[in-house]
């Protein structure tokens, strides 16, 4: 399924420059605990300019968007409690939706907001995943008018980029 312009936020504790990549999904930024990498910030990194800290970016996001704040508070913090080194990817497709997607959104009378939450775990973690599913349900209850999808995928030693690409392609 073709994706057009969207916003994709990658949360990971050990993000490297090569993980803040662009693809057909038009990833705009990646966030680590220490560094934020966006299209702009990637350029900053390349030019050794000062980059924003993780907390600054979170602060920006959360003041601009209550939904992000809730995702962060309800999901990410709960995951941090249960999983070491979580790799979390949140995609928000606010896009000029074409063809089938546009029709679908009209059908659901959506405001063309689509949130995809992709959690990349190193391996299966039932306790943490149960917590995630519970928090996800709370998120859906709070935002019944949004299309919020959740995928939990496992790395099993693979590069996150590889399964993110594949996962989003199949979604």
């Amino acid at each position: 399924m073709e994706r057009n312009k969207g916003e994709l936020i990658v949360f990971t504790k050990d993000i490297k420059n090569e993980m803040a990549y662009e693809n057909d999904n038009n990833i705009l930024c990646g966030i680590s605990r220490d560094v934020i990498c966006s299209k702009l910030l990637m350029r900053q990194i390349k030019h050794e300019q000062e980059v924003k800290t993780f907390q600054e970016i979170i602060s920006d996001l959360t003041t601009k968007n209550e939904l992000y704040e809730d995702i962060f508070n309800m999901l990410i913090k709960s995951i941090d409690e249960g999983i070491r080194n979580p790799k979390i990817l949140i995609a928000n497709f606010e896009q000029d939706i074409k063809n089938i997607e546009e029709i679908k959104y009209k059908y659901y009378e959506e405001d063309k907001n689509k949130i995809m939450i992709v959690l990349l775990l190193e391996k299966v973690n039932h306790e943490a995943e149960n917590k995630i599913y519970e928090k996800y349900a709370e998120l859906l209850d709070k935002y019944p008018d949004k299309i919020i999808n959740l995928r939990i995928m496992r790395l099993w030693g693979r590069n996150p980029k590889d399964i993110i690409d594949e996962g989003l392609k199949q979604w």
């Binding site: 089938i100 679908k104 659901y108 391996k123 299966v124 995928r151 496992r154």
Partner: protein, 125 residues
């Protein structure tokens, strides 16, 4: 009128039973991905039957995902205590079908998926 819809409802029950029988027949150690997939499709048709019995059919209007989204919303509203299991099964079946490393690497307990399928089969249609 439920009676008029009985054949329609029954076809979902039959399909669920068919998938469950397949689930029971396969080698669960060897075909973990199909265990999860068959569990999911056992459950999916139970949900379809439950919805059909309440005159809430899922409409294939645009694409697969639209039905999928309708079904998730239905489970959230009408089978609330099963919702988390349903979401888990959707997620895992998706991974099982599309992640080439899944059946070799899955390190969870597959009996969990059998139990979810069996729990759904106990739902009064």
């Amino acid at each position: 009128m439920v009676a008029a819809r009985l054949p329609y409802i029954q076809k979902f029950v039959d399909q669920s039973n068919h998938n469950y029988n397949f689930l029971c027949d396969i080698d669960k150690d060897r075909y973990l991905d199909w265990v999860i997939t068959a569990s999911f499709y056992t459950v999916l048709h139970i949900v379809n039957a439950h919805a059909a019995a309440r005159n809430h059919p899922f409409k294939k209007i645009f694409d697969y995902e639209s039905i999928h989204t309708q079904r998730i919303a239905y489970v959230r509203s009408n089978l609330r205590d099963k919702y988390t299991d349903f979401i888990r099964l959707i997620n895992e079946s998706f991974n099982a079908r599309y992640d080439a490393l899944y059946f070799q690497n899955y390190d969870g307990d597959i009996n969990e998926f059998l139990k979810i399928a069996e729990d759904f089969r106990k739902i009064a249609i």
